[in-house]
Symmetry: D2
């Protein structure tokens, strides 16, 4: 298993299991002397924390990261940053089935094969969505650094089932639009759409069922010319992190799948020079990335998260040790829609990817 | 710039520029003693070659790879495999504008910034879709190796505009289905849908315009238990290659974005044990991957390719050296739909990713 | 800064600063199901701990690693293993000069430049020899795993100044020889030589001075055929870790520098087949590695460690902030010979390197 | 097998087998716009070429690299640089024994195990010293780039058997000293010592025997503050390349193994500020590297190369296929001392390592 990400300037190693002593992250190769605001980290992580809203799990996680290294006097020291979050409030008894019964949609069976039955299955172990907490810590650090360079990343719930939020304006979105989004308790642009989404989620919850969502994310202020063609492009780098979020099953940039319904003459974004001499595009179907390299337009992406796999409805499944058919009712307190809390996780992945590329490319030459 | 991929067992380095001496690939860490059938490589690469069909560019590329190293007596030696494809039939004069005028949808402007004007712009240089030829060579090698392990990868044009091919049966697809697809001159399952797609492409071509497409791909025979959670999952590994294909703007696994329109109770694939004791799922919305690890079900993915950026219609753009507004008509002979020739490129990325994971995980323990 | 090692099957990330909250390590991609004996880890780490002997610093470090993840029921789970060692018994006031005065032989000045003055200088921060504690934890884990495969690694003090221990028999050394060495309080083969070394160290200590040493290390039981030519050879892999030990200034394999005093006819190790059909060499000047690949003979190496840089004798130096000449007397309690405690650190690097190569090469094919 | 080096800013992939179609290298992530002087490359590579001197093999290699990509109009384009050197003048019949008889000191037996008998054994295949030709090409490119930043790297034969050249002045060596060395037909500082070395080599040759050597190398002009503690230090990075040179068995920095014969008070290099305000050290036992980071003093290292393994004297060995004892006389035309031609190879490794670190560390922050 490798939860080490080593895809550019930033190096990341996420560790932990849901019901072990603790979870955490090592974030390496971060420039020295970067001011870190712990209140901002706390606020950022709070957006991912459970229990904020009736639409999320009632499970409590204190999720207070303890900084082991790499930050001194509120500044990065240049040494690897390690943060540990201790586990608590665990109901291990809820999870006793997992060692033998495959919860549909979960990694119980595949994890059993991969780790020959030795993985810690309690609370899904290393597969748990809880592992996104240290990822969000890392994203909070990286976010503070890129914001001082003028790069701001924000995301919202784009859709849940057929309810669609007001889309981001991928041509004209501003830093202030992003800052406003962060204040929202429920992460949508249009609160009325948000209210309908909450109804969808609560209806699913009432039925012991769950829903997925599409999250839309934009980054503004990314300087043009950052990235690379082929395997180290912005898209590859972002994708290699985004698909590390459990439940993600799709990712698109700019017009994405929608581009396949347009002619080239529609999808091509025409360039123009504005009054200040800036080179811009009229539309932004390319999502701010051409040839793997930032164009200076907002970077835009959408992420598809499947419905929470843990549902309270009886499902057919197998005992993978005895290899026999069974029925399962998944117990425990679960988010009826993991996407609500995944919004800052998506932002974190983009923060990390963009900082990584910026560090990588600040050329001496 | 980094066109080196180093994401697991297989190491890959793609080099070349469209109008330089040659393009090619180094494929490292391939096990020794693997038989290589050069006729099969040739047949595989021919599927990507231009000029096969009126829907593709009339441009000719001989694309004969010369093996420099790593294969001896038709077997891999264990040393890095290098193949070089010499460039020929180039019309450099067609491309003289690129040094100053940004073709909409292309990387002319972003490449200019990234490489400070020193990149070889002729024929799009290192950004050219021509660089997928060595990628397909690498995919052909990796494909032959995984096929001896029983893993077969096939893809088809899933849709062009509103025309949809018969979808792959992601639950019951067989090796024979995949082998049948490879024989198709136009890569679709339903030839009638194919005929309509060809009409769409030719209509776009007639208008000097272009169209995109969705490519669907499946892998059968992948053993269960291969992959990892978080950053080295099958999804991340595949994504890090797929987004290396120029024109790709979206990627989804299994139900993908469609999963966001289902309840958990619909999207969860229920497990069952069949008569032979195999553990299978009734449906395959998870695309054969759970927690980044193969489940034993067919691996399924869809890739969105935008319409060809090169179109013959006048477009507004900028001279990025003088920073002034201009108009451009892109000359040259171009595919009205790059996706037709991209089908084996998608297969190649999946071949490489799966071999890489298989090598990585063949545990001593 | 990057303290992430990603050079093969094993991934390693060391974090921490001498006087921060804690230090530790993440060890990733370790196979699941490996039994871990905590008493053995403790015993292994105790060999590096200070205060065991009058020749080492009087400073106390409890160095009790807390396992955060990756081990459950005394077996590896396959998830990243994280261990944290909390810092204690720190005398921060001893180190106040370091922010401006360069201790000769230390990284105060180079660290100041590298981290622009933001590095945590207390106790040398991330440059501290204390960071070898988590490295030894990682080495203890890897050592237990390779020992179950029959590979045993042992080291001793080969020389201090002109005192030379009995050399290892690099042709015929056995597992039992290595196990016997581990029992030694002072890590030498010949206790009389050891007594003379201790005298040398204590004499240097008495003079407020220090001495270096050569450490010799052997691995027995490494299967033949593991490694690679060029950049992933056993020598490169071992070197990339060994030069991570502070104070190491030299490394040689087999006859090493001595090979330059021999003719080819002397230095070439002649092969022979023994009665059991084993292929062996008469001598072992190649140090068990040919073309980067293990030959089946014991792997042998020597490591040169410079004298402890911290000495109590006045030295000329500079204030690198004011850029003026100064004199310094380095305070604090220091080992007069860091090499004594470095013996298990060298073993740890070799343990990690060998496991990494073994994991990497366990081919599916 | 992995001949891909991916240890920092520069990415390197060396390919080829001695008697295949060709050998070469891909050098990736090189900044765009760097002027490349092909005459200088030719001159640099000529220093490694055989047949220059009676002390080297009479074998001829034209070794003309053909640039496939990455250089246009004599400037780097930012795309991967690929150079191919075609093989010629091969006497495959000389090498027929290698498939079964282990030449002592060679990788025939270990390569057979590693590649299960499928490696191309002709001329040692991928293990051949000939593979250093593309490494020297890469080193020539990197050298030209760092020289424009003021960093000059030079090496000489420090010793052959008991004959010692005048050592480099590791405190006061200048760019001009290095440029003067490059003009030498036989790479020594003191031509009289050189004459004695040549006698040693020719005497060994006369006896159908061989000798090794120590190569000393210095880099001047490296800015202070480049490198990292632990695993990405200058020493680790240089070591990971140097141990890729066949025949290298030892490496030391600064005083190296000699440091173990000094007290700390002798080995510590005292700092001082000179009249211009530069921070320097009186001596340079640290070899220009403290804590893995450059100090601004010349970087100095020594490399031990074993005697050429191919000798014309009968040696006992084994047939590793039949597992029986045999005698061997190694045929073919060989260098009696590979170190003579290895001098620019050592320089190349240092050039690549230093450029890699410089690219890596040119911080945005």
């Amino acid at each position: 298993m490798s939860s080490t990400w080593n895809n550019g300037g930033v190096k990341l190693s996420v560790f932990g299991e849901s019901h072990g002593k603790g979870i955490g992250v090592v974030l390496d190769n971060i420039p020295a002397g970067q001011p870190i605001d712990f209140e901002k980290i706390k606020a950022f992580m709070a957006r991912r924390a459970p229990g904020n809203d009736p639409t999320t799990t009632a499970r409590k996680e204190s999720d207070e990261p303890e900084i082991m290294s790499g930050i001194h006097n509120n500044k990065t020291t240049g040494a690897p940053i390690c943060a540990v979050i201790r586990n608590s409030d665990t109901h291990s008894s809820d999870y006793s089935q997992m060692a033998t019964l495959a919860r549909p949609g979960h990694a119980d069976y595949t994890g059993f094969l991969r780790y020959k039955g030795f993985n810690d299955v309690r609370g899904s172990g290393h597969f748990s969505g809880r592992l996104t907490a240290p990822l969000v810590f890392a994203g909070a650090i990286c976010g503070q650094i890129i914001e001082r360079l003028g790069v701001y990343v924000g995301a919202h719930l784009y859709s849940i089932m057929d309810v669609i939020d007001k889309p981001m304006n991928t041509v004209a979105i501003t830093r202030d639009d992003i800052l406003a989004l962060r204040q929202k308790k429920f992460p949508v642009i249009d609160d009325q759409a948000g209210e309908k989404m909450r109804e969808q989620i609560l209806a699913a919850k009432h039925n012991a069922d769950s829903v997925g969502a599409i999250i839309e994310c934009c980054a503004v202020g990314m300087p043009a010319g950052i990235g690379s063609p082929m395997f180290d492009g912005l898209e590859n780098t972002i994708a290699s992190l985004i698909f590390g979020i459990p439940a993600v099953k799709g990712l698109e940039f700019g017009a994405g799948f929608g581009a396949t319904k347009m002619f080239g003459s529609q999808n091509n974004d025409e360039f123009y020079v504005d009054d200040q001499g800036n080179i811009l595009t009229e539309t932004n179907y390319h999502g701010g990335i051409l040839g793997g390299i930032s164009s200076g337009m907002p970077i835009s992406l959408k992420v598809a998260l499947k419905p929470t796999s843990s549902i309270g409805i009886p499902q057919r499944t197998v005992n993978f040790v005895k290899r026999q058919n069974e029925e399962i009712i998944v117990k425990g307190r679960h988010d009826p829609c993991v996407a609500v809390r995944a919004v800052p996780v998506v932002e974190s992945c983009v923060n990390i990817a963009l900082l990584s590329q910026l560090i990588d490319q600040s050329a001496l030459f």
